[in-house]
C-alpha cells in the first residue's frame, strides 16, 4: 500500500474536563474508503472538525502525504486537499449550481470566470459520473442532488480526501446506491474517503477499513468490514453486546386514531390529498416513503401544527374540532417531532423547562398562574433517572445534551402522561445503536400497554422490525398499506416510487 494521503497522529482535544478525543491515530491511503464508526459523543465529529480546521487540537499532528501541516481553518484544510460534506448543506438556495461552485473562487479581473467553471464541472462529471445541470437553481434540486453538489464542490476545490458526515441519513434507498457508486469510482481513481455512519450494513458494504471510536479513544480497528458481522462492530462501538428487541404478538383493539379523507393546502411542502388511515390500540403503523412525499404534512396535521383543508380526524372516538396542539394533547395524543432541536425543545432554557412545556398550565406544575418550581424540578429529576438521560441535572441547558439524550427526554415528556396515541417522526435519526434500541424498546412497551403508535420513517429496516402494518406515501397520498409480514424492503421500495399500488 502506498504512503498515506492523510495521517492523524495522537490527536487529543478536550473541552473543559471532557476529553473528546484522546491519542487518536488514523490514516487514509489514496484509493481507500475508511469507515469512521462510533456512538454519538464518541468523538467522530470532533476528530473531523480538527482535521477540517474548525478546532485546534491540544496535542497531536496532522500529516498530508507524509509532511506535517498546520490546519487553522477550512481554507487551510482545502489547501491541503481536504474537503468535507457536512450533514447540513452549506449552499445558497437561490443561486445556480455553477454559481454555488464558483463562490469564493477568484475570477478574472473581478469577474466570475463561468467558462472555466463549466469546463471544470464537465471534467468532474465525466471523471466520477457525478452530473448536474449547471444552470438549475439549488432550490430546485432534491436533497440527494444537493449532496452531490456538495461533493462536486469539494472536488472542484481540489480535494483529494473527502470527509462525508453521515451522508446517507438524508437519502432514499435508491439514492444511496448512486452515492456509493460515485464514492467507489472516486476511490478507484485515487481519492481517499472518510465515511462517517451509524448504519453498519452500509459501512460493511462500502468501506475497506474501519476505525471505531468510543469515549474519544480508538476502541478498535476493523481490517475487513465486509467479512465482519454487524454484531461484532456494534459491540466495539458500545462496549457490550446489542440484543435486538423482541416484538411480542398482540391483538390490536379498537381504532384510537382515524383520519378520514384529509387534504391540506399547498403551501407546506407536498400537501396531503385524501389521506385516510387508522391505527388501533396496541398496534404500530409504519409510514414509509421517500422524503418529501407528504410525510411532513401528515405529521403536522396529526400533531395540530397544520389544520387540514378538508377531512375529519378522531382520537379515541372523539372528533377533533380545532386541530390545535393543545386540543390534541388533551384528547390523549403524544408527539415526537421530526426535528428535536427546533420543534421539540427549547435549547437555550433548562432541560426541565422543555420537559414540562406541554403541561405547564396543568395542576401538576402550576396553580393559579404561579409555577411550582419544586414540582417541575422533581418531575424532571424523576424522568432523568427513569430514562437514564445522561446530563448534569435538570437545570442544564437542553441544547448541551446529545441527540440520543434529547430524544429520551422528549419521549419521557410525552409518555409520562400515558397517551392513547403516539405519533413520531424519524424517531432514531442520528441516534447511535444504544439509544435507538432504547427508543425501540419503549415503543414496543407502549404497544404492549395498548397505545396506538404511528412511526413516520425513512429507515425501512426499522419500520419492518417495529410495525404491524406499513403504509407507503407517494405524492401526498397513501399508495398502499401492507401487513409487515408481507412487506419486504424491495416491495416497499417499489411502492415508494409509485410503481405499485396496494389497497
Amino acid at each position: 500500500m502506498s504512503a498515506p494521503l492523510i495521517e492523524m497522529r495522537g490527536i487529543t482535544k478536550s473541552f473543559g474536563a471532557v476529553k473528546a478525543n484522546e491519542a487518536v491515530d488514523l490514516s487514509v491511503a489514496p484509493g481507500e474508503i475508511l469507515g469512521l464508526l462510533g456512538e454519538n459523543g464518541a468523538g467522530k465529529t470532533t476528530l473531523m472538525n480538527v482535521l477540517f480546521g474548525a478546532y485546534a487540537p491540544d496535542a497531536g499532528e496532522i500529516l498530508v502525504e507524509g509532511r506535517p501541516v498546520a490546519i487553522h481553518n477550512s481554507a487551510d484544510a482545502l489547501a491541503a486537499g481536504i474537503g468535507m460534506v457536512h450533514q447540513h448543506f452549506h449552499l445558497a438556495p437561490r443561486l445556480t449550481v455553477l454559481e454555488n461552485l464558483l463562490i469564493g473562487i477568484p475570477g478574472k479581473s473581478g469577474r466570475v470566470d463561468r467558462a472555466r467553471g463549466l469546463a471544470r464541472l464537465d471534467e468532474i462529471s465525466r471523471q466520477y459520473g457525478l452530473s448536474l445541470d449547471p444552470n438549475l437553481p439549488v432550490s430546485a434540486l432534491s436533497v440527494g442532488e444537493q449532496q452531490r453538489l456538495e461533493i462536486i464542490k469539494a472536488l472542484f476545490r481540489g480535494a483529494r480526501l473527502l470527509i462525508l458526515d453521515e451522508p446517507t441519513a438524508v437519502l432514499a434507498p435508491s439514492e444511496v446506491d448512486g452515492l456509493f457508486a460515485a464514492l467507489r469510482s472516486m476511490a478507484a481513481q485515487g481519492l481517499g474517503i472518510i465515511f462517517i455512519s451509524h448504519k453498519l450494513n452500509e459501512v460493511r458494504a462500502l468501506t475497506h477499513r474501519c476505525v471505531v471510536l468510543r469515549h474519544g479513544k480508538v476502541a478498535g480497528r476493523v481490517e475487513h468490514p465486509a467479512s465482519t458481522t454487524s454484531a461484532e462492530m456494534a459491540k466495539l462501538m458500545c462496549g457490550h453486546e446489542i440484543v435486538p428487541p423482541v416484538k411480542q404478538s398482540s391483538t390490536p383493539g379498537a381504532s384510537v386514531l382515524t383520519l378520514d379523507r384529509i387534504s391540506t393546502s399547498a403551501h407546506a411542502g407536498t400537501p396531503l390529498r385524501d389521506v385516510s388511515l387508522f391505527v388501533r390500540a396496541g398496534e404500530i403503523l409504519g409510514i414509509a416513503g421517500v422524503s418529501g412525499n407528504g410525510q411532513r404534512a401528515l405529521a403536522d396535521v396529526i400533531s395540530g401544527m397544520l389544520p387540514p383543508k378538508a377531512g375529519a380526524m378522531t382520537i379515541a372516538g372523539k372528533a377533533v374540532a380545532q386541530f390545535s396542539p393543545r386540543e390534541l394533547q388533551t384528547l390523549g395524543l403524544g408527539r415526537i417531532p421530526e426535528d428535536r432541536m427546533t420543534t421539540g425543545l427549547v435549547t437555550n432554557l433548562p432541560l426541565a423547562d422543555s420537559m414540562v412545556l406541554p403541561r405547564i398550565g396543568t395542576e401538576a406544575f402550576s396553580r393559579k398562574g404561579l409555577l411550582n418550581p419544586a414540582a417541575i424540578r422533581a418531575f424532571a429529576e424523576q424522568q432523568i433517572k427513569a430514562y437514564d438521560i445522561r446530563c448534569p441535572g435538570p437545570m442544564v441547558r437542553a441544547g448541551a445534551l446529545s441527540g440520543g439524550n434529547l430524544q429520551k427526554a422528549l419521549l419521557a415528556r410525552e409518555l409520562a402522561f400515558d397517551p392513547k396515541v403516539l405519533i413520531v417522526s424519524q424517531p432514531t435519526r442520528g441516534l447511535d445503536i444504544g439509544a435507538a434500541r432504547f427508543i425501540h424498546e419503549k415503543f414496543l412497551a407502549m404497544r404492549a400497554k395498548g397505545c396506538g403508535i404511528i412511526i413516520i420513517g425513512e429507515d425501512l429496516e426499522e419500520l419492518l422490525m417495529l410495525s404491524d402494518r406499513i403504509a407507503v406515501m407517494y405524492e401526498g397520498r397513501i399508495a398502499g398499506t401492507l401487513p409487515s409480514a408481507d412487506a419486504t424492503v424491495a416491495r416497499l421500495g417499489l411502492m415508494m416510487t409509485g410503481a405499485e399500488g396496494h389497497a
Binding site: F15, G16, Y55, A56, V69, A70, H72, N73, D76, S303, M305, S324, P325, R326, Q329, R335, P337, T342, T343, G344, L345, V346, T347, N348, L349, D353, S354, L357, P358, I360, G361, S366, G369, L370, L371, P373, R397, A400
Partner: protein, 351 residues
C-alpha cells in the same frame, strides 16, 4: 493569531462581570474623547461621579432620573424576552404622559387622581404597544420598524396637541396646562425631588422578575422568545403570548411617562423625555434582560446623565458625552455578550 471558538458552557460569574467589563471599556474608550475636548480625564470623571453620587441630594437626583429608565428598561427587557422587538418605549412613554396629564388636570381627590393617572397612563402605553404587536401577529409586519416609526407618530401627535388645543393661552409656550396640585406625587424627602413614583419603579423591578421567573405567563414568554416553534408545538398560543407581552411592556413604558408628569414636570412639554425610551434599550441590554439588573443599569445611565451636565459646566467637555457614553455602553455590552457564546483562543502563527 487569535480566533473565536464555541463555548459549551458559561460560568455563572459572567452574568455579573460582563456588564461591569462593558462599562469599564466604555469609560476607557470615552476618556479619549474627554482628552480631545481638552480636559483632564480623571478630573472630568471625578466631577461626573461627585455630581451624580457625591452627596445625598445628588443621589436623589440620580434616582429621580433613573425612575423612568427603570420603567422603560423593564418594558424593553420583558418584550425582548419574548423576542417582541419593542423599540417603541419612547412613544409609549409619551402616550402615558399625555393620558395621565389629561386625568391629572381633572379636579378630584389626590389619591384617586394619582391612581387613575397610573391606570390610564399604563393603558395608553399598552394600547400604543399593541399596534406593532397586532401588525406582527396578524400581518407579519416587522415589529422593529413599526414600533420605531410609531415613536415619531406619537411625538408629533403630542406636538400637535401642545401647539394646538393644549397651548398655554397666557404665555403662548407650547406646553400643556398643569395637573391639579393635589395630583402631584408626594415628595418623600423634604428639599429633594424624590417622589413616590421612584419607589414604585423600584418595587416594579422585583415584581417583573417574579412575573418572568415564577408565573406561567413568564414561562410562556420565555419559551416563546427562545423558540416559538417549540412553544406552539407544546400547546402555547404564541400569538396571545406576544400580545400579552406587548400590553405588559407598553404599560410599563407608559408608567415611565406617568412618573414624569406626576412627579417631575406636572405637565407635558415637547422635551418631557430626553430619549428615556431609547435609553431603556441600553438599560435592558446592560441588565441582560433580567428585571433585577435593570435597576443598577438604569442608575448607572442616570448617573452618567446627571454627571455629564456638571462635568460640562466644570470642565467644558460638551454634555453630549452622556449620549456617547450611552451608545458606547450598548455597543460594548453587545460585544461582551459575544463572550457568553465564544471564547478567544490563541493559535500558533500560520505556516
Amino acid at each position: 493569531m487569535f480566533r473565536l471558538e464555541g463555548r459549551t458552557s458559561t460560568p455563572a460569574w459572567f452574568n455579573l462581570a460582563l456588564p461591569l467589563v462593558a462599562i469599564a471599556a466604555t469609560l476607557i474608550l470615552c476618556s479619549g474623547l474627554i482628552a480631545i475636548a481638552g480636559a483632564g480625564v480623571v478630573e472630568a470623571y471625578g466631577v461626573m461621579i461627585s455630581a451624580s453620587l457625591g452627596d445625598s441630594y445628588a443621589i436623589t437626583e440620580t434616582l429621580v432620573r433613573a425612575a423612568p429608565m427603570i420603567f422603560t428598561g423593564l418594558a424593553v427587557a420583558i418584550a425582548f424576552r419574548a423576542k417582541f422587538w419593542n423599540i417603541g418605549a419612547e412613544g409609549q412613554l409619551l402616550a402615558g404622559a399625555v393620558a395621565s396629564c389629561f386625568v391629572g388636570a381633572i379636579p378630584m381627590p389626590g389619591y384617586l387622581a394619582m391612581l387613575l393617572m397610573a391606570l390610564v397612563g399604563a393603558a395608553a402605553g399598552a394600547l400604543v404597544a399593541l399596534v406593532p404587536a397586532t401588525l406582527r401577529v396578524k400581518f407579519k409586519v416587522d415589529d422593529v420598524v413599526s414600533s420605531l416609526l410609531l415613536n415619531s407618530v406619537i411625538y408629533y401627535a403630542l406636538m400637535a396637541l401642545i401647539e394646538g388645543p393644549w397651548k398655554d393661552t397666557f404665555s403662548g409656550y407650547p406646553i400643556s396646562p398643569p395637573i391639579e396640585d393635589s395630583a402631584n406625587f408626594p415628595v418623600l424627602i423634604e428639599g429633594t425631588r424624590l417622589h413616590l413614583g421612584v419607589v414604585v419603579a423600584l418595587i416594579a423591578a422585583p415584581l417583573c422578575w417574579f412575573l418572568i421567573a415564577r408565573t406561567t405567563l413568564g414561562f410562556r414568554i420565555r419559551v416563546t422568545g427562545e423558540n416559538p416553534e417549540a412553544a406552539r408545538y407544546g400547546g402555547i398560543n404564541v400569538q396571545r403570548v406576544l400580545l400579552s407581552t406587548a400590553l405588559l411592556s407598553g404599560a410599563l413604558a407608559g408608567l415611565a411617562g406617568v412618573g414624569e408628569v406626576g412627579g417631575v414636570h406636572f405637565q407635558v412639554m415637547s422635551d418631557i423625555s430626553p430619549g428615556y425610551g431609547y435609553s431603556g434599550i441600553v438599560v435592558a441590554m446592560l441588565a441582560r434582560l433580567n428585571p433585577l439588573g435593570v435597576v443598577p443599569a438604569a442608575i448607572f445611565l442616570a448617573a452618567v446623565m446627571t454627571g455629564a451636565e456638571a462635568m460640562s459646566r466644570a470642565t467644558g467637555v460638551p454634555a453630549f458625552l452622556s449620549d456617547v457614553i450611552q451608545g458606547t455602553a450598548l455597543l460594548a455590552m453587545l460585544v461582551a455578550l459575544l463572550f457568553t457564546a465564544y471564547r478567544i483562543r490563541r493559535v500558533g502563527a500560520q505556516t
